[in-house]
């Protein structure tokens, strides 16, 4: 029996256009979804449970709106859903220590998460959480097997390596060849009725503050040519003007 935790995060749909107003990203009219790599983490967690038995608990950090991502995880098949109630901006250290407390309270043996979230792209939470817990971690894992011990495949030295991991550990998941399961009708019904376990926490202080958000600088208009023959001129410009060939 294994006590499994999976971290999920609600992010803007990756097809969404990002709008800035008053120096801050305005997400008010953006559709929110589960961060894509978290879907692979949920799938890996469920596969682990199928082999080892036990329970999967999904944890998110956010306000009441973030319950949706937990219900989505529940519909796919996790057993328990937990929200750490914190809506304000926190730095990585503060976030990880809140999650570490929840993981310790649950008594987890292993934590799965996405390799990075689609909003920050940082990829800090998995390894940082592991350090807070004093656990092993492997990031960017593309496949996992759960026989006697946890064994994962992750990038190493320009290729891939099969790595054995002694639990407890935090595993961050890349896409790999996983096909993620979709919720069925029964799962969706159960998710509707499911209760989110909301944990009130005292939010640790952050030493980082957000100064501003902005749109990326737009490039000056480039040169455009008609017809394939122009490729010869472009090749020459890549050498003479851009100095990249």
């Amino acid at each position: 029996m294994t006590n499994i935790v999976v971290l999920v995060k609600q992010v803007p749909d990756t097809n969404a256009r990002i709008v800035i107003s008053d120096d801050r990203v305005d997400l008010s009219s953006v559709k929110m979804v589960m961060s894509p790599y978290d879907e692979f983490a949920v799938e890996t967690a469920l596969q682990h449970r199928e082999v080892s038995g036990g329970e999967v608990t999904a944890i998110t950090v956010g306000g009441a709106k973030a319950d949706k991502v937990l219900k989505d995880a529940k519909a796919i098949g996790v057993d328990n859903i937990v929200r750490i109630d914190c809506e304000s901006f926190v730095d990585s250290n503060s976030l990880q220590s809140m999650i570490a407390n929840a993981v310790t309270e649950i008594g987890a043996d292993v934590v799965y998460c996405g390799k990075s979230a689609a909003d920050t792209g940082a990829g800090s939470t998995g390894p940082g959480l592991a350090e807070h817990l004093g656990w092993a971690s492997v990031s960017n894992v593309t496949s996992a097997s759960f026989a006697d011990n946890l064994s994962v495949v992750a990038p190493a030295q320009g290729g891939n390596a099969r790595i054995s991991v002694t639990l407890p550990a935090v595993i961050s998941c890349d896409k790999g060849n996983l096909k993620v399961r979709k919720p069925n009708v029964k799962g969706i019904m159960q998710a509707k009725k499911a209760q989110v376990d909301v944990k009130s926490v005292s939010v640790p202080a952050s030493s980082i503050t957000v100064v501003s958000h902005s749109l990326p600088p737009s490039k000056p208009a480039g040169k455009t040519y008609e017809g394939g023959a122009a490729a010869a001129e472009v090749a020459q410009l890549l050498r003479d003007e851009a100095n990249v060939i």
Binding site: T14, N15, R17, V25, P36, D91, S92, N93, Q96, S97, K115, A118, T120, G121, A122, G123, S124, P127, G128, L129, A130, E131, H132, A136, S137, S139, S151, G158, G159, N160, A161, R162, S164, T166, K175, G176, S206, S207, I208, V211, H213, S214, L215, P216, K219, G222, K223, T224, Y225, G227, G228, A229, A230, A231, V234, A235, L237, L238, V244, I245
Partner: protein, 310 residues
């Protein structure tokens, strides 16, 4: 003014040129950094000592550094680094290490820095669809994107001290797996040529591979191509749910330029777009746009580049 510490980037047993860019970033934060070189053979650290603008080099030597283990590496490096701002590169392994070292010190980590202005640090968020600027209230670990800061010049002669590190591996490599493809990975390449669904079929990617071989580029693909054709592997995917890249040159062929794809490559230094649809959004981001089918343009490009390289 904070002490700064650079963790040297090591590739194939030598100091990677990115390390000199990290030194520039550290100097922008206010002081000449101490450069820590995690290594199994201390002699490689001499190459770091010749980078200008550093205060000293610590060759941190241990068998531990033969294979990456996040916990073991973070423990060993954190133990030897003084307090201050620690600067690492923003490749996936170094970001992972940066996050662990920060957590070990109970200080924040800020990843993927592309600009430093005093104590203000800017990183792309939403895969480059927006930028976020934060200010540091104390020590932190940061990772810095490659090809953004100019490399600090050679010609320095800093002292090198050798320190023996100890640490425990929390994971063990069972075996290194044979690479499915012998091609350069998009995440490591300075030049990338990518194909989209406009290539018509996965077989036509051979035309991209030919050009890639000519100029030492990696071959990438859009999500549409990866999702449509099983032969185009996800490891080639550039975009928000694939890899984020910022090479010196990015050549997009038969790629319309969906937001998803732009998010992963828009910070490339130079962008060439080849597409038969002159209204494709990719042209708004291209330094050089060619409105033509790939069948027309690629043979000409191939011939011109071959002539140039020979």
């Amino acid at each position: 003014m904070s002490q700064t510490i650079v963790i040297a980037e090591i590739a194939k047993g030598t100091i990677h040129p990115t390390t000199a860019e990290l030194v520039t970033a550290a100097n922008a934060l206010g002081s000449a950094p101490i450069v820590i070189v995690p290594c199994t053979d201390a002699s490689i650290a001499d190459a770091a000592a010749s980078i200008q603008g550093i205060s000293k080099v610590i060759a941190l030597k241990s068998g531990l550094f033969a294979a990456y283990d996040a916990s073991g590496w973070a423990t060993a490096i954190e133990a030897v680094a003084p307090s201050g701002i620690i600067v690492a590169s923003a490749n996936p392994q170094s970001k992972d290490l940066a996050a662990r070292i920060a957590a070990r010190r109970n200080i924040p980590v800020v990843q993927d820095i592309v600009a430093i202005d005093g104590g203000n640090l800017t990183s792309p968020i939403f895969s480059g669809k927006a930028m976020q600027t934060v200010s540091l209230g104390g020590d932190a670990v940061i990772s810095v994107r490659a090809n953004v800061f100019a490399a600090s010049a050679q010609g320095g002669s800093a002292d090198v001290s050798v320190v023996d590190a100890t640490g425990d591996m929390a994971t063990a490599v069972e075996e290194f797996l044979a690479r499915v493809s012998t091609r350069l990975d998009v995440a490591e390449a300075n030049i990338i040529i990518s194909g989209g669904r406009g290539m018509g079929s996965p077989d036509n990617f051979s035309h991209l591979e030919k050009i890639a071989d000519t100029i030492g580029a990696a071959v990438g693909a859009s999500r549409a191509a990866v999702d449509t054709w099983d032969d185009i592997s996800h490891s080639m995917q550039v975009g928000q749910t694939g890899k984020t890249v910022n090479p010196n040159l990015y050549i997009a062929v038969g790629i319309s330029g969906a937001i998803q794809h732009l998010a992963g490559m828009r910070s490339s230094k130079y962008i060439v777009a080849i597409n038969k649809d002159g209204d494709a959004p990719i042209f708004q981001h291209a330094d050089y746009g060619i409105v033509a089918t790939w069948e027309e343009a690629l043979p000409v490009l191939q011939a011109s580049l071959s002539a140039m390289m020979s």
